[in-house]
Symmetry: D2
Subunit: 377 residues, 4 copies
């Protein structure tokens, strides 16, 4: 079993999640074709780098991401920097022939995202964008049931990510509220996951028609010098049409009172239906129209050993996995692709590109107020 | 306490519901300013008329609706005939100076609906359309909480009516599948209630953009002579914008696998949220953002005596009211208006007109693929 | 179709429920072998009698229950008087050869209850005690599934009735708080329904061991002259063993904060399980262990036409029935027995006796602190 | 920040859980007074030891637990061996002056458990038993709310652990089915957690009265040589009385069809109520009787930053923690005690002893059929 050495670029919330996944990966996913090693962590200054090295258990620390991505000892570059920097780090890592993981959104524009996906593919490196939400066992089970025909033909999909973490108008003007740095607001941050749910379950989206709302127009500048303009959406909702003929609706907000981690979907098929939400991460609700007439009803399936990725975790359904565990599944998907056991990860850069294309079409449609086609790629 | 004599035109499912409501009304709503009397029921032939008289407890039966609506003994005409006949019976009853109740949809077109609303208003008769769904105590409580500011400013409304009762392709080509007789499919039958929920809770809808789907294009003719075309929607979903600036999404289907009586709404406000579905008729879920940070969460309120109409029913919350009981509330709303205790019922003909205007705009938008304005009235 | 003339003895909450059921019965249950007629209502004074006659739609009113039960025109005596009076009215009605319905608890002691059941049986009159809770379609479906073997052998039953309507210490000392008038507290009032659920689903209870609690020892006298002692239980919980070998637990309280109409059960079988609560009256949760391993989970079945009594009500599952509708089912069970279409109602006086025997054993066990046998009859 | 070096005795399911917790601990709980180091893992043979070292990331591996517990480099001995061996390893570790963690049940008898607790206390070592279930943020929040008076006085507690993982009669006769090796069946394995929930939330249990059931009397011997007797319970249920005067009911089964990880509780207080189940690990349901009359209802609180241990995990409530994360909380509770920041862990050996005392009383009561006192310690 060969080591697979990771350089993780960026700490923070995602550094924590990825490091936990790297550490717990072999404990869950065993045997494994490759053994991930926390080799190098890069942070913005020496102090943070040293602290992150200790806290997250890396062999080395650095403040020089360029050196890191070119370090000959490194097999994988895992990019967790702010969105605006994804492009540079990814392109450098790919140029250096490294396998790459990049947190979502892959890039601020589809043009950049396409360039990144093309570069990674041309270089023949394994590439993955951090759409771990679709990798939850319950979501994978939903996909498996659809593929097995358990709900017939998909007719309608609703997908959503509703939170309230930016509902407070006193939250200052962090980078997420600026289009230049974030690309969009709730749409890119949260809607991207909902789009990914929808595409994963029902295939390509061909056109969209949406509405964007902003609830707080000005927020306090971080330096305390007054107020600045928010120029992104607080909430976006849109109709989608799928290539398959199915219709759908996608919704996201970071100002939806009462909703905490309200990410999920409902799928209506011709003979059955499915629903899921992250607040019940280990549950899939499934309606099987072939049940006897007097015994029909949505079943609440607690995921466990019989379900996708289930036997990596606990011996009993409903024992509960958490957010970090979905990052373990993401890592497993990546590792098995690097090991050549699968052709590619489920969530390649191209999946990130496709989500971005949908997001851009939504923004355009909100502006033009017209149905807007989503480019094929 | 004066009697209020009803002529009910039409039996069937709605005849049953209205008759139960008429019979149980004084038992629940007591004291009452007027005492409803089941005076006359009209059916299409003598046999059905006699059977309905006995079964539903009317003093008299008839097969002549024109005579009935002009009968000087009659105070109220309650119109439960197929949609296509609403116009004629309503106009005759109004011309005869009767107070009128008409099941929804008021008419097949907004033009007819406007004529009916105008005629009723000009005649000064109390008029009501059968939007009993919004009258459920939990829905009225939602409205009360919104009006009291309990969720702040309404930002987003989802409303829906999802069933599966026509999902079976072997269901024959009944009138509901023909535009000429039904006006529209799931949209008018079910979506009208969802539109009414949305308008009731968040005010007027100014524009819509929608998608209509048909899953079964041909169905067996009733006479067994072959197949005929379905020319209405099986499912419709659409974005709505409200005059208030709120956004929304409305959805209806009679072919949504697993959904039985899936009628309800979710309302997101700036400081709280609400949700309701008919399958939990006696529950309202309410999030109060002003709760202490460590004690916040959606509450499940079981409706009972402290809630709108609650003290008419049972002494304990959660004791359960049923569908017929919401028809009692509809009747109470009507009776109190006839008695002059309120200015008008909540769901006048004009409310029926407004729903029809939204439905027509939705159909137009599905055709034109453009945002379509809803006329003010 | 012959009329079946009812004399209802007592108004109030139960008078309302029974009258609504009598009025709506033929509207739901059609055709019917016998047509219930609200012939006579008896109240304690002329004013109440007149008001009840009008409100509840009876042909006649009276203040003389003895005359009523002997009235030759009357077929059925329906007894809704306070518990302490059940015995006298029932015995007189039975002596007069009337069919009898009596609200629960049948009597304050098992001795009286046995006498009443024996007298009714000896007289050959149809007799029924008001255990409508077990007649809800979802509960009947549970029984049907058990009988069909859908959950295998019953191993454990929990049954409960938890409310909070007497949690407030300022509620005065009404008769329900006095053993002499009520027999017991929460146990007889609420626990009796839970016992009935358990016996209905799992057969006879052979022994019990229980605990009784009192939370408010003194309450204001109704005449304002000070405080008096409560001498009944506010909450009772007990273990039960069934003749079948199954174990169980039953619990009741009228001071259980947050619980409104918390009446229901959970049944664990060898291959499946069931659960129900009244706050979700139209739902049964069913686990079928024979489902495929990756698709197992509790189903939420909304009751409707495919379920027991379901086609009497609405054409769509989940359309909602209410409390009064379960009284319609009780009435139907009675009417069909009177018509000779069934041998007897499900809830004969003997069922009332058996519940009382369990209650007495529970009280004895709470005193003796020993497992206490429940007499066979 | 000093290292805290762990020797983990035993791999398997619990070795995995503890190793994940040790690895992810500093990533979550940061800063930390002491830095846990995976120094040494002990397994039963060289191959397993080597594999576990690699898989779980230990510095060293061994097959000699006695050497491990006496190794001067080791600070903490973490004991995950089969129940029957707990005593020997714990006593040796305590004798060597090591801080000790032991999985539950602490011992097969209360006598042994008392000896272990006394020895650990006498030695002045920090000692902890693996009752991580009570440490879940939602459970800790329940306790906090009770302590703050949010539900008034506790009146009734139900606690349960219902699973179905041994419901299949073809499961062979593993050690869990033999009293000599396991002490008891579902009672010790699952009921111990339910007892711990109850004691944690409502204080000491003074007496019990219970019933034990066995559904499968014989199972296949592991060596294939035929069948052997099961001599433990498959399900146990019992009444409990608390020192406070509260009553309660506790239930456990590993053969409860449809129940997966059905561990939780319901607490009824004089002014509010709480409920929790592990299948919804990140939720607490809370009823606050002081809410306005028309806005009362159980709230579903998703745990997150505002709740106990919440800020160690994710920035948003409902983001989901999993089973391993509750082991992180257990570890944090231990580490902070070793560091002297708290007096002792919440779940000392003495807590394990107390649970065992309750279990023994339950078994005795099931035999004697009498209320059985639980010794004070």
């Amino acid at each position: 079993m060969r080591d697979l050495k990771f350089a993780v670029i960026g700490g923070g919330f995602m550094g924590k999640a990825h490091s936990i996944a790297l550490a717990s990966y072999p404990m869950y996913v065993w045997p494994t074709p490759l053994y991930p090693v926390r080799e190098l962590i890069v942070e913005i200054n020496d102090e943070l780098a040293a602290e992150s090295q200790k806290r997250f258990g890396y062999n080395r620390a650095s403040t020089d991401w360029r050196a890191a991505v070119e370090d000959p000892e490194i097999d994988v570059v895992d990019i967790l920097v702010p969105n605006v920097l994804h492009y540079d780090v990814v392109m450098a890592a790919v140029a250096a022939g490294k396998h790459v993981i990049c947190e979502k959104p892959l890039a601020l524009t589809s043009a950049k995202a396409r360039e990144m996906a093309d570069a990674a593919d041309a270089a023949g490196v394994v590439n993955q964008v951090g759409f771990n939400w679709r990798l939850a066992p319950a979501v994978q089970l939903a996909k498996k049931l659809i593929d097995e025909g358990a709900i017939g033909e998909v007719r309608h999909v609703k997908a959503f990510w509703l939170g309230e973490f930016f509902n407070d108008p006193s939250t200052p003007l962090v980078w997420r509220f600026k289009k230049e740095q974030a690309g969009s607001g709730a749409l890119g941050d949260l809607g991207s996951h909902a789009i990914d749910f929808a595409r994963f379950l029902a295939g390509e989206i061909t056109e969209v028609q949406g509405v964007q709302q902003q609830f707080v127009a000005k927020r306090q500048l971080l330096d305390g010098s007054g107020e600045g303009d928010v120029d992104v959406d607080d909430a976006t909702s849109f109709l989608v049409n799928f290539a398959s003929g199915a219709s759908g609706y996608i919704e996201c907000s970071w100002s939806a009172a009462g909703h905490k981690t309200g990410a999920g979907f409902e799928v209506i098929g011709s003979t059955g239906s499915l629903s899921f939400d992250w607040e019940h991460l280990s549950e899939l609700r499934f309606y099987d129209g072939s049940d006897a007439a007097d015994r029909q009803g949505f079943r609440t399936i607690y995921t466990g050993p019989p379900h996708p990725s289930g036997d990596w975790f606990w011996p009993i359904a409903g024992y509960q996995i958490g957010y970090a565990d979905t990052k373990v599944i993401q890592l497993a998907d990546f590792v098995h692709a690097v090991a050549g056991e699968t052709e590619r990860p489920q969530t390649t850069f191209r999946e990130g590109l496709k989500s971005t294309l949908v997001e851009e079409a939504v923004m355009e449609s909100a502006e033009s107020r017209e149905w807007t086609a989503v480019p094929a790629e």
